[in-house]
Subunit: 504 residues, 2 copies
């Protein structure tokens, strides 16, 4: 049943404080007259209408006094989308048919997506009309067979169409992106500082952690405010040439934010979805040039050079269609970057590089300089081949640090990242050479210690691949805000194999 | 994070009376120490352990006093699976990895399912370890490319393996199935009565309505109890040769019950899933022969003869593998069968046919006789070609009615289906010939009037295709239990096009 008359009585809305990520959930009594007259049962999809606004939600029912009869409880996402006040009257009915599903069915039965179909799908996704069932079917159907170039372009365009768009009155606007999967790879703040110090414009939006111990926005937040709206972001960029802010407040590609959770649950990453996800945000951000870091390694997201080349080719082709110049750099993805894993610990690494501190992690410095160098070359600051050296010079002269400091101040004031009060050293049990470092388990340890919820928590790595260690040397430290978290994490370590393997 | 130490404190369990169909949901406070120490966030998957039992659930969080800190609320499905009492202590942690997803990923990336993979998937599905995201991905990945014969056989076997199995000490055990989509097609009680009256064994389990105004179990329940457990069902069949009971109490293919909702949400029906769904139940029920009714029509589930033939071939081939003889009948799917749509209204049609009442719907009688005839032929009661006549004789002699009455008594007592107190006639606005009857909208009208929740509600059809009607003649009646439902349904009728179209 897809439509119904509107004569049934209204129900009163209640904020339940129910958090279910993006999911819009409505809760009603099993014996509620509105449910009975509409024939609504648990897991029905319902349309909830408040004045001119309406949302679609999944209906759960309760047979207890959790709610009075005649009330409807809303999950936080539904509450915010509907923009109501406690006790407001709303109307509940069957939602209109989800016609965009026909495009998914067509692809399941052997067809291809077309622009109009993808537009309809993405519009319904952003309007929260897709349940998990629909989202998973769309993402799976997009994977078999893989999206072709035309479909990837159309999907990118559809994702851009439903979000905010930024524009900058500049001929060249630089962006960067990392294809993830490598702990501690926090080059963004350094790249932005170097690029802006050289006169380039780089309005960078970054994400918070979803499954990792820290996202760039989490790390940056230990150094300066990152929750800037579009006008504040514009002010910072006009003043300093660059910024590093949280993208969540800017809504450049709202469909992507919804897909990410489902992709993570399925643990499928398809090239087409990845390309549309990355490029829709860059294009919506008004970028003209983007440098993409593709770490390649056994425990990174991209495992082979061939996969990296295929991804790079698709990124470049789709970017070209939208007038976005894409430069891809394959980088070493065999071990974490820098020493810190966790927001504040990574911020200390970033500061060490920017401030030319003795002992600053050279791998983080060199990766950032390579990416910044590519930006300087495509931005016309230096000619081809001269970028890396210029980037290092910008760091060594203190110009990058000065620019970073000014960006932090413009974003609302510079902060000192905290230091953990509880630290536990994990030591080598024998002499040996570091043969492997388990990226994934290190991330798990950092998360159990509290990252990113607790910004000062995480892991501080003391060794790198091929280092010689003696029995009793510290391999890594666990940093935590509470003693209980430390002991909890230490106990976890005993349940898994060695995170750092030593050989002869 | 897939594992963790078990040293964290237990939480107290609360029944929330939250109905979300099969979904296992756990609700905890955002600020609950167990959530914080495990790094659990909204929509995390959690393992809830109570003594030796454990379930997996999806975590929702609340920031209100809906729950005290340290408590965990469970949805009804979770509560029943975990089998706990209010206030029991349970442990919450990250679930073990869902390894069976790798088989889905392999198929997405171009592989095929194998028996071991399907076994692992179906086991996890029945253990409620699959969320909607996983279920939708499995069903979508099963559709592209379509399951081949071997995969369909393996899926059928995997679905049988996780459910109950019945066995009958008889050489021939008859079953029937209808591929749905046709309102009022309530042949089952008549077919069982005719078959059993002729000495065949037919232990029939039927479903309740999911999206339709009545399932066979709903209709049968207006005539006799249908919630029989396996031993009661066995007693009825041993005594009378047949039964018509609700399959939900028997758990013959529990995975199918979980897939149905997701398939409905996606509105995709794939041949492989359909075949595995139908046959897994028949094989688990111990049947040796099954007659399948495949209605073909523009608004039925199967729309062309070719599609019906392809489906029949696959049903026969898979059945053969399991030693189940499948006979398929293509039938007319162009209009509803009989006159009633809704549990009691359909029961009146069934009784009229069994009792040879004047004006009994001949289309229902002839369809039932054709299906029963096929059963009589494959059951060896009559030779090929003699089934239809024998079935009609069994009806006309009163033997089928007598057998049906005895089955009802054996199931717990015969009842009279009720009659609606509120009836509204929908009349022709002009003279004309009935050109089309909208199956789908008639079902919607019946559901809005209260079916199947209210057994006496529904639609009573007064005309059939090609009938001549005069202005003012009743086209159909709406039956309801309350005046408000009647006016509500009547109002709905004004918002849609004509349900019955008249031509010159």
């Amino acid at each position: 049943m897809n439509a119904g008359p509107r004569s049934h009585p209204p129900v009163r809305v209640r904020r339940m404080g129910l958090h279910a990520q993006h999911q819009a959930i409505a809760v009603m009594r099993t014996d509620c007259p509105a449910c009975q007259s509409e024939g609504l049962t648990a897991r029905s999809h319902v349309l909830v209408r408040a004045g001119e606004k309406s949302i679609q939600a999944e209906l759960f029912q309760v047979d207890t006094d959790l709610l009075p009869i005649g009330d409807i409880g809303l999950s936080q996402a539904a509450w915010e989308l509907l923009d109501v006040n406690e006790g407001d009257e709303v109307f509940v009915s069957h939602p209109p048919p989800l016609n965009s599903l026909s495009h998914i069915r067509r692809r399941i039965y052997g067809g291809r997506f077309e622009r109009a179909g993808l537009d309809a799908i993405i519009k319904d996704v952003v309007a929260r009309r897709y349940t998990d069932v629909h989202l998973a079917a769309f993402l799976t159907a997009s994977a078999v067979p893989p999206l072709n170039l035309e479909e990837t372009i159309d999907l990118t365009a559809a994702m851009i169409a439903v979000g905010e768009k930024l524009s900058w009155d500049r001929r060249i606007v630089i962006d960067k992106h990392c294809i993830g999967g490598l702990a501690g790879n926090r080059t963004t703040p350094i790249v932005v500082a170097i690029a802006a110090a050289n006169g380039l414009v780089m309005p960078k939006t970054s994400s918070r952690a979803i499954t990792s111990p820290a996202g760039t926005a989490d790390t940056m937040e230990t150094l300066a405010p990152v929750n800037l709206d579009i006008s504040s972001m514009r002010r910072v960029v006009n003043k300093e040439g660059g910024c590093i802010v949280w993208g969540g407040a800017v809504q450049l590609s709202p469909a992507d934010d919804i897909f990410i959770r489902v992709e993570r649950d399925l643990d499928i990453d398809t090239e087409g979805q990845l390309v549309a996800s990355v490029l829709s945000k860059k294009i919506a951000a008004g970028s003209t040039h983007v440098v993409v870091d593709i770490p390649v390694g056994a425990t990174a997201k991209i495992r082979t050079e061939e996969a990296a080349e295929s991804l790079a080719a698709r990124l470049i082709a789709v970017g070209q269609h939208f007038g976005l110049a894409v430069t891809c750099l394959q980088t070493d993805g065999s071990q974490p970057v820098g020493r810190g894993i966790g927001p504040a610990l990574e911020a200390h690494d970033v500061l060490a590089v920017l401030q030319n501190s003795p002992g600053a992690p050279t791998d983080l410095r060199d990766r950032a300089a390579a990416l910044a160098g590519a930006a300087l070359e495509i931005g016309g600051v230096v000619s081809a081949g001269g970028g890396f050296t210029r980037a290092l010079t910008t760091l060594e002269s203190g110009a990058a640090w000065e620019k970073f400091r000014r960006i932090c101040i413009a974003q609302g004031g510079m902060r000192a990242p905290g230091v953990a009060t509880h630290v536990l050293a994990v030591r080598a049990e024998r002499d040996g050479v570091v043969r492997s470092i388990d990226n994934r388990n290190l991330s798990r340890v950092a998360k159990l210690a509290g990252a990113p919820r607790s910004a000062i928590s995480g892991v501080f790595l003391k060794v790198r691949l091929a280092d010689l260690v003696a029995a009793g040397d510290t391999l890594f430290e666990i940093h935590a805000a509470m003693a209980s978290e430390l002991s909890y994490t230490a106990e976890f370590l005993t349940t898994i194999g060695p995170v750092i393997q030593l050989g002869e």
